[in-house]
């Protein structure tokens, strides 16, 4: 990185008790219980934010301990600080730039060897470290007896036993943290010995680095020197950007690296990695006693024997996803209705209070109606988040990637791409967000780009209605076909992109399969809540803005001269009804029938007026404007208007079709979908044929993702470029396929 590094903070103060709230960062391997510890320490006092420039959630909490305030930052889970994944870069940058007073490394005591690898790297970074020997109860149960005092002495790092899920060891940990923060304990007195030859070379580079006193104050020279030997691009960039004698330093470092390579027959980074592991093994031999295993296989191995079985693996994965899917929609649909009804009631209440006019229409139809329509989908997204959080916390995600990798690799995708795609069949928003488990940015971008092609829960009612209207006998089969069509387009598009836009070597597939752990309900809910909060924060403003724009486009300009005098007609209906009711004594049922007829006539009138409004509105005009292009796919202006509105949220297509067809905004009941007025009205429209209906369904499946998905994709990918591309390519692809289907259908009939 040739660009100069940003300004680095001033040199650390000489040690003295801190007179401000110490900033403590929590680091650790994934699955080491870092989040549980964070929750145990901070309780509900948490705030989800973002690390600058990246999509990794930054969770910050505050706590009070022995009269002192402590600010706690949850760093992303990492195995190392190599700076290859976003998580590693975030962790490294946070430690180097923000200089937390103490970093607590959460260590899985059942898996010390690999967990201590990160601890040593944190120590190398020159930051005060405290180790939390977490899951110490589980380690004891497994016969792993850790002499924590001895280990702490060997590594030169304070270690405290904890059981985060039960909050055990919290106080001791915080006391150790404050001891380090206040300078009563030192975790930097020693560091691992890399072996004689390496230490010599390290020393040479250190001497070269020391020539710039300013640089020496800003960075841990020990760390920079070791990273230069490893030829770490990030550390080289720091030297190039900030060191006065950068050229000499890099020359010394390159020579040293060359020498190491010749001497050891392998690169310095491998040698250093081996030294770290060798050092850890040495320390563990002295401080840990492991009871010989009694021959009993552990639970994880037993479960994996089934779950990862060569033949059962894939079917089990599909069943797991089906279960989550079923739960989501079983519970989610009623909840969705409830939310929508709630918004409807709110609109009704407000409508009753406000005087008629543009303001009322804006608040009731534009904001409450629009946002309600989109948020109606929130319960489903929330339940999917819940399912995902559970699978993540229990340790299944890596297994899913393991069993699906082979198949996805055929299309140039990564095993971890399957979960986002599968989740997108529920809702693309959590789908896009779950693409985070892909550590390689290229794989992640690719997966996000194709996720919205799946049949999501919002497209479902639209496609189902069209299936019922035009293929009543084969509706279920058609629907299933379109569902598969979504997968097919995603895979093929993914393969095409992989071979064009995202060419290059496969990213490494080196993935831990963590031991299964039953998460606590509270842990899963907190996890879900963080995801949901992130969704609302990211998509909220976009949803509101899109709702207002769509409402305005459908409502303005107002018609000044209607083709008929609707008010007069309404008065006429009222007059006729009153006259009929005023007649002789009518039986009760006859009276009710007349009133029903009046209501129907008035609603019909209102709907005719709405159609006329819609036709004259900006959206209507735009619908007509694009007709010459869309006609090739068999779409008239009414459909175009509905498709416009579908960009806000796909399920809105139905209610907009209702408006342009003069049926009011009511959505058809799913039970009698084939008999619903909209279904029969569309079926009766001469503009439609099975070919144009199929073209429309395919178009709806593919074209521009909803605004919430675009907003989340923008956040996840960090720029407007990819969402814009996503909207563009899906629109073109949808149009091409819809035209092809419609034209072929016309030729055949």
């Amino acid at each position: 990185m040739p660009a100069p590094s940003p300004a680095t903070p001033a040199a650390p103060d000489p040690r003295r008790p801190l007179d401000r709230a110490p900033v403590v960062a929590l680091a650790g391997n994934p699955n080491a219980g870092k989040t549980s510890l964070f929750n145990a320490l901070t309780g509900q006092n948490q705030h989800v934010g973002n690390y600058p420039g990246v999509t990794v959630d930054k969770i910050v909490g505050r706590l009070a301990f022995e009269g002192r305030d402590i600010e706690l930052v949850d760093l992303p889970g990492t195995y190392s600080l190599s700076a290859y994944s976003i998580e590693e870069v975030v962790t490294r940058d946070f430690v180097l730039r923000d200089r937390p007073d103490v970093v607590v490394d959460v260590i899985d005591s059942t898996n010390l060897e690999r967990n201590l690898y990160l601890l040593l790297q944190l120590q190398e970074l020159g930051v005060p470290v405290v180790g939390a020997l977490n899951m110490s109860d589980e380690a004891e149960r497994k016969g792993i007896h850790v002499d924590d005092k001895q280990l702490s002495k060997l590594l030169g790092i304070p270690l405290v036993r904890t059981v985060a899920s039960r909050g055990t060891g919290k106080d001791a940990l915080l006391r150790a943290v404050l001891d380090v923060a206040d300078g009563r304990a030192n975790s930097l007195a020693r560091h691992l010995n890399y072996g004689e030859e390496l230490e010599d070379k390290h020393e040479e580079v250190m001497r070269a680095l020391e020539t710039d006193a300013q640089f020496a104050r800003s960075f841990s020279l020990h760390w920079v020197a070791i990273k230069l030997l490893e030829r770490d691009p990030d550390a080289r960039g720091k030297v190039e950007g900030s060191h006065a004698n950068a050229a000499q330093v890099l020359e010394v470092a390159d020579k040293a690296s060359e020498w190491i390579k010749r001497h050891f027959g392998k690169d310095a980074d491998v040698v250093v990695g081996e030294q770290r592991y060798a050092y850890i093994r040495g320390a563990l031999r002295e401080a840990v006693r492991v009871e010989p295993r009694t021959g009993r296989k552990d639970a994880t191995e037993l479960v994996d024997a089934v779950v990862l079985n060569r033949f059962l693996g894939v079917p089990i994965f599909l069943l797991v996803m089906l279960a989550i899917y079923a739960l989501t929609f079983q519970l989610g649909n009623p909840l969705s209705d409830l939310v929508q009804r709630g918004f409807g009631m709110l609109g009704g209440l407000l409508g009753g209070v406000l005087p008629d006019g543009v303001l009322k229409a804006f608040l009731v139809d534009g904001i409450i109606g629009g946002v309600g329509g989109v948020l109606g989908f929130f319960p489903i997204a929330l339940l999917l988040f819940l399912g995902l959080s559970f699978l993540e916390d229990v340790g299944y995600m890596a297994r899913a990637a393991f069993v699906m990798d082979n198949f996805l690799h055929l299309f140039g995708l990564h095993g971890r791409s399957f979960i986002p795609l599968m989740v997108s069949t529920g809702c693309a928003v959590p789908g896009v967000m779950s693409a985070r488990t892909l550590t390689n940015p290229r794989d992640r971008t690719l997966t996000i780009l194709i996720s919205p092609l799946m049949m999501c829960g919002a497209k479902t009612p639209v496609v189902a209605m069209l299936c019922a209207a035009f293929f009543p006998r084969y509706a279920a089969l058609m629907f299933w076909g379109l569902w598969l069509f979504g997968w097919g387009t995603a895979f093929v598009t993914g393969m095409v992109f992989r071979k064009t836009l995202f060419r290059g070597e496969d990213s490494p597939f080196v993935m831990e399969l963590p031991p299964y752990r039953l998460p606590t309900p509270r842990g899963v809910f907190t996890h879900m809540w963080h995801k949901a909060a992130s969704y609302v924060r990211k998509a909220g403003t976009f949803i509101l803005a899109a709702s207002i724009v769509i409402w305005a486009a459908l409502s303005f300009p107002r018609v000044t001269a209607y083709s008929t005098d609707y008010d007069a007609e309404a008065r006429a209906i009222e007059a006729v009804t009153s006259a009929r009711l005023a007649g002789a004594e009518l039986p009760q049922d006859r009276r009710a029938a007349i009133e029903r007829e009046r209501a129907r006539s008035l609603a019909d009138l209102e709907n005719r007026k709405r159609t006329e409004d819609a036709a004259a509105s900006f959206a209507g005009r735009a619908g007509r404007f694009v007709e010459p292009v869309m006609r090739h796919a068999g779409f008239d202006w009414k459909v175009n208007v509905a498709l416009f509105s579908g960009v806000a949220a796909k399920e809105v297509i139905i209610s907009t079709l209702g408006i342009v067809y003069g049926l009011g905004g009511e959505e058809p009941d799913e039970a009698d979908i084939a008999e619903a007025p909209l279904t029969s009205r569309i079926r009766a429209d001469r503009a439609y044929s099975p070919a144009s209906a199929l073209a429309l369904m395919v178009f709806v499946m593919i074209y521009i993702p909803c605004i919430a998905t675009l907003a989340v994709a923008r956040k996840e990918l960090g720029s407007m470029k990819w969402p814009a591309f996503m909207a563009g390519y899906t629109l073109v692809l949808a149009w091409v396929l819809a035209v092809a289907i419609f034209q072929i259908g016309r030729l055949l009939s």
């Binding site: 195995y79 190599s82 010390l112 690898y117 491998v270 990695g273 393991f402 831990e512």
Partner: protein, 78 residues
């Protein structure tokens, strides 16, 4: 021999890494260093990816990655 040639259930000791760049870095970080002992636990449906245990943890790698890991195998089942 390389890791992909080890049969399911067999133990191995890593002797060196051929892999380069990011793959090698990842492998080292996950404990694939010379001298490390492991066992091949299973292979996925079409022969890959493979799952190995290294010390107290389990790691999955694709066959491509496994071909970059030189190992000494042993048939002795523990």
């Amino acid at each position: 021999m390389t890791l992909d040639q080890i049969a399911v259930g067999n133990d191995f000791v890593i002797s060196s890494l051929f892999a380069q760049g990011e793959i090698r870095r990842r492998l080292v970080d996950m404990g694939f260093v010379s001298g490390a002992r492991g066992r091949l636990l299973r292979k996925a449906l079409l022969g890959g990816p493979i799952e190995v245990s290294l010390g107290t943890w389990r790691v999955a790698v694709r066959l491509t990655e496994a071909r970059g890991i030189e190992v000494v195998g042993s048939d002795a089942r523990a």
